[in-house]
Symmetry: C2
Subunit: 143 residues, 2 copies
Amino acid sequence: MKIGELAQLAQCTVETVRYYERENLLPAPARTQGNFRLYGPLHVERLRFIRNCRALDMSHDEIRNLLALADRTAEGCGAVNAVFDQHIAHVDERIRELAQLKEQLSALRQRCAGEHAVAACGILQGLAAMETEARHERHTHLG
Amino acid sequence: MKIGELAQLAQCTVETVRYYERENLLPAPARTQGNFRLYGPLHVERLRFIRNCRALDMSHDEIRNLLALADRTAEGCGAVNAVFDQHIAHVDERIRELAQLKEQLSALRQRCAGEHAVAACGILQGLAAMETEARHERHTHLG
DNA sequence: GCACAATCTGAAGCTACTATAGAGTCAAGC
DNA sequence: GCTTGACTCTATAGTAGCTTCAGATTGTGC
């Protein structure tokens, strides 16, 4: 099949498919005489795998890692579990961060109930007065 | 004061300060004879405001919006509240997304308890078998 | 033979910075 | 007066994961 059909089967765009090839997530396929990419069922499987990982917000590095581990059929899946556990930890941490953020935002929001002049707006005052703190390092690739 | 001092007062790097100037978040300051940027207390206040907004994960667009609203002192703060509420909605949605993600990940994780061959790994099988779904539109700028 | 869809490559754009190179400025010490 | 070192300047490229675009080719239906 050609790239358009593959993309449709994996629910992504053809640009994304070509991008994954450049990124070495998808192997370069055979070409037709006219230089069109020609894919088979294995490509569909692999691309679906990648898209599913992305739907779980894994990074390309994590996915490349998983794919390499899956290809080394001789070995056990302990390493797979490790990658997975680490990713779950990423998600967990981001959830915690956002929950804390939401508390701060809600607290600020309560400082302005009505419609007064901006000079008196509790939100703006709060934003100006907050204790500026250094940006902490990210322990997750999740935004 | 010069850029280094300003950056320290706002807990960010000098590169970030110059970047904000290019992005029209911070107004271009006066310069010394030697072409060094020269800042006053108003710049400190504004930069702190920006950094606090960023600590709350607001986008530059949201911040530009808030700054413009704060500058129009004649008007009320209804619009400020609107920007703020929308941002809280962003955070809320992202938390919901991640919570759902975590459920999926946990379910997958339970499919592989021990250390077997990768061919039998429930996680990898699950990743291959998941129903590929189209990436839904983002309603939040939060990653 | 011609229109039109699909494909090709390469490059630029997005967000919010960070990092680097190479040049210039300034204050202190000898 | 001269050097050293800290600071600053501009301009450019890199990050992640794509998306968008321009301009050229290929393939298909009539």
